[in-house]
Symmetry: C3
Subunit: 331 residues, 3 copies
C-alpha cells in the first residue's frame, strides 16, 4: 500500500514519499525497508535513529529524530494497530448460509450474515446484519448475536444469551454454560441456573474461555472488555467496561470487577468480592478479599533453584515459629 493512501486512511499527518509502498508491520529494531514500524516514547529514540524501517509512526515529540517517511500520531501504538488491519485486511467468510448449516425456521437472520459449515442456529435466535458465525458453532434458542460480531469455529452460545455488536469470539469458547450452584443433603442438588450471559459491544473473547450463565440474574460482561484464552468466569460475575484479562484467569461466582482493570495471566479471584475500577494485577495474583483502591497489586512467589527452594519451603512452613523467636529475642 502506498504511504499516501495509508496516511489518508489513518487520518494522520505524513511527511515523505507518498508513493512509497510498505507491505507489513515490524518492530522498530528489526524492520526492513518495506516495513512500517512505530515508537511510543523517547526510550526508543536510539532505535528510531538507527532503524531501517521504510516508514515510521512517531509521536510529535520524536519527530525531530525521525527521517524518511514519517507519520505523526497522538498515539502511535493505536495507529499501528489500525494500520495492521489496513495493510492486511481481515479475511471474512462469504456471506450466506453454508449448505450444511442447520438454521431453525424460527431464527431471524438479517442481511449480510454468514453462517459456516455445520453451524446450528436455534429457534428464536437473532443474528444481526453483518454478523459472521464460523463453522461448527451453536447459537442456541433465543440467543442474540449483534451486528458485525464474529464467532470463529466451534463457539457455543447458550440459550437466551446476548452478544452486542462488533464482538469477536475465538474457537472453543463456551458462553452460557450452567453455573456451579449446589445445595448438599446426602448428595448435591443443583440449583437451576436460569439467568443469562449478557455481553456488551466490542467485547473480545479468547479460545476455550468459559462464561457461565447467572443463577437468577445475569452474568454481565461490559462494553469493550477483552478476554484472553482459557479464562473461567463463574455465574453472576460482573466485569466493568474496557477491563482486560489475560489468559488462564479464574473468577469465582458473584464477584464484581470494575472498569479499566488489567488482570494478569493466571490470576485467581475468589467469589462474592468486589474489585474497584483501575486495579492492575500482576500475573498469578490471588485475590481473596475485596480491593477498594486503584493501583497495582501482586502475590506471586519468587522462583528458586531446587536446593534453595527446599530450604525456603521449610521456613515457609514455620513462619509463625520464626515470628515467635524474633519476639522472644526482642524481649
Amino acid at each position: 500500500m502506498k504511504l499516501g493512501e495509508l496516511a489518508a486512511q489513518l487520518d494522520l499527518p505524513f511527511s515523505g514519499d507518498a508513493d512509497f509502498q510498505v507491505n507489513q508491520l515490524a518492530p522498530i529494531e528489526s524492520a526492513s525497508a518495506t516495513d512500517l514500524a512505530f515508537v511510543v516514547n523517547a526510550s526508543y529514540r536510539t532505535a528510531l535513529e538507527n532503524s531501517r524501517a521504510g516508514a515510521v509512526i512517531v509521536p510529535e515529540s520524536l519527530r525531530q529524530y525521525a527521517s524518511g517517511n514519517v507519520f505523526i500520531s497522538p498515539n502511535p501504538y493505536v495507529s499501528y494497530a489500525k494500520a495492521s488491519w489496513i495493510l492486511k485486511p481481515d479475511t471474512k467468510p462469504a456471506v450466506g448460509v453454508h449448505e450444511t448449516a442447520s438454521v431453525s425456521a424460527q431464527a431471524q437472520l438479517e442481511e449480510g450474515v454468514s453462517i459456516g459449515a455445520f453451524s446450528s442456529i436455534g429457534a428464536g435466535a437473532t443474528i444481526k446484519k453483518g454478523a459472521c458465525i464460523g463453522e461448527h458453532c451453536i447459537v442456541s434458542d433465543g440467543a442474540y448475536i449483534g451486528a458485525d460480531t464474529r464467532l470463529f469455529a466451534r463457539v457455543s452460545i447458550g440459550a437466551n444469551c446476548i452478544l452486542g455488536h462488533s464482538c469477536r469470539v475465538q474457537s472453543g469458547a463456551v458462553i452460557g454454560s450452567e453455573g456451579f450452584g449446589y445445595a448438599f443433603d446426602n448428595g448435591w442438588h443443583a440449583i437451576h441456573q436460569t439467568g443469562r450471559v449478557t455481553i456488551g459491544n466490542s467485547v473480545h473473547i479468547g479460545a476455550n474461555t468459559t462464561i457461565d450463565r447467572g443463577a437468577i440474574d445475569d452474568t454481565v460482561i461490559s462494553d469493550g472488555v477483552i478476554l484472553d484464552n482459557q479464562i473461567q468466569i463463574a455465574h453472576n460475575v460482573r466485569i466493568g467496561k474496557n477491563t482486560a484479562i489475560a489468559g488462564c484467569v479464574g473468577i469465582a461466582g458473584s464477584t464484581q470487577i470494575g472498569a479499566h482493570c488489567q488482570i494478569g495471566g493466571a490470576c485467581n479471584i475468589v467469589g462474592h468480592i468486589s474489585i474497584c475500577d483501575g486495579v492492575v494485577l500482576n500475573a498469578t495474583s490471588f485475590v481473596s478479599q475485596s480491593i477498594t483502591q486503584a493501583g497495582r497489586y501482586s502475590s506471586g512467589m519468587p522462583l528458586q533453584s531446587i536446593g534453595q527452594w527446599r530450604r525456603s519451603f521449610v521456613v515457609l512452613g514455620q513462619l509463625e515459629k520464626l515470628l515467635k523467636r524474633v519476639r522472644k529475642l526482642e524481649q
Copy 2:
C-alpha cells in the same frame, strides 16, 4: 405457581395463602412480593424479619421470625434448589434423532432418547432411555451413556468410556482423551493409553473440563461427584463419592481423592498421592504430599500492593538467610 402446589411438590409443611403465586427465586435481602426466598440459620434472622419476599423457606428454628407464606424445611437450601426446577422446569430438546445427526447402525439407542444436530454416535455405543445428547457431540465407539444423562452441545466421549445415569455434562468437555504418559530415549515415546474413563451416576461435569482415560486401568469418577469448568483430571485419577471440585483445578496422574472432599478453585494436586475423605482445600492450594487427616487446608499467598510485594519478594528469596540470622541472634 400456587404455593399450595409447590408445598405438595416439595413435600414440606406450609402455612399461609395456598393460592398465592410466586414466579421465581431471589435472595432474602432483595426478594420482591412475587419471589420465593430462603434462610438457613439465625444469622439471617434480621434479613428474614425485614424481607418483602412473597414466600420463604425456613428451618423449624426460625419459624417464629417468619410471617406470611412460610415453608418449614429441615434443609432450606436443598428445598430452594428443588424449587428452582419446579418453578422453572428444565427445557429439554425434543425426543428423537435430528435429521443431521450421524448414528452408526451398530449403535443401540433406547426409547425416549434425543440426539442433537450434527452429533455422531459410534459403533457399539449405547444410549440409555431418556438420555439427551446435545448438538455437535461425539459419542465414540463402544461408549455408554446412562439413562437420563444429558450432554450439552460439543461434548466428546471417547471410545469405551462409561457415564452413569442422571449425569449432566456442559459444553466443550472432553471425556477420554489420551493420558500423558511417555518414556524418553532421544525422543518421547508415548505409552498407549488403553484404559477407560468410568463415571458414576449423578455426576456433573463443567464446560471445557478434560478427563483423560487411564493408561491400563480406568480413570474413575464416583457417584455424585460435581466438577466445575476447566478442570483437568489426568489418567488413573480416582475421585470418591460426592466430592465437589471448583473451576480450574488440575489433578495429576494416579492421584486418589477421597469422598466428600471440597476442592476450591484453581487448586493443583500433584500425581501419585492420596487425599483422604473429608478434606477441604481453600482456593489455589497446592498439594504436593498425601493428606491423611480430614479438615481444611490452604496454601494461598496474600495479595499486596506492588511496592510492599516487591519488598516481600526480596525477603521471600532470602528466607533461609533470615532464619540463620535469627539463629545467630539466639546464640
Copy 3:
C-alpha cells in the same frame, strides 16, 4: 501375543518360552501371569524378584535377578512404551472421506487419508498421506497437516497453520486462534494477528490446549515437543525440541523456551523472557524472569492446615517488618 514374536518386533534379546503369551501391560508389583512388566533400575530389585509377571523387561544390570521370561533392554521403559502399541494396536478410523464431511474442492488430500464425520477442510488445505482427521475437526484454508498426523475429534486448525508429520492432537485443541495484542485509546484496538502457528514433527498436543498464532512472525513448536491438556501458549512463543509440558501451564507472549525442558503442571511463565535448554520446573512454578542456567527450579507454596496457614498468612503479609525487626536486633 507370543513372546518370541514380541521379541522380534521389539528387537530385544529374549530368554524364556517363546511360545508363551502375554495380553497386556501391568506394573511390576501387580502384574499377573499373563501380563508384561518392566523395571528400570535396582530400586525395583525386590519387586522384580517377587513379581508374578508373565514376562519382564529389565536392564542388563538386573538380568541376574529376573527369572522366567526375560527381555533385556538398554531402556526398559521405552521398550515397554513400544510394547504397549504392539500388544494393543492403535484403532484408526477407516480411510476415506466420511459422507457428512465438507471438503473444499480446492483442498488437496493425499492417499490413505481419513476424514471423519462433519469435518470441514478449507480451500488450499493440504492433508498428507496417512493423516487421520477425526470427527468435527476444522482444518481452515491453507492449513497443512503432515503425513500420519492424527487429529482426534473437535480439533481446530486455523488458516495457514502447519503441523508436521506424526503429530497427535487431542479433542478440543485450538491451534491458530488470534493472539492477545491490543493498543489502548479510549477503548482497546486489536492488532491484526497475521502470523501462523508452525508445529514440527512428532508433536503431541493435549485436550483443550490452545496455541495462538503469531502477531507478525510465527508461534513455533519444535519437533518432538509433548504438550498435555489445557495448556495456553500465547502468540510468538517458541518452544525447543523435545520439551515436555504438563497440564494447565500458561506461557505468555513472545517467550522462548529451550530444548529438552520439562515444565511441571500449572506452571506459569511471563512474556518476553527466555528459558534456556534443560530447565526443569516443579509443578506450579511461577517464572517471572529469564532462566539462563539448566537445572531444576520451583516456587510452590507449602500446604498447611487452615489454622496454621492463617497465622502464616499474617506473617507473609509482614515479611518486610520481620526483616527490619531482625536487623534492629542485630544492631
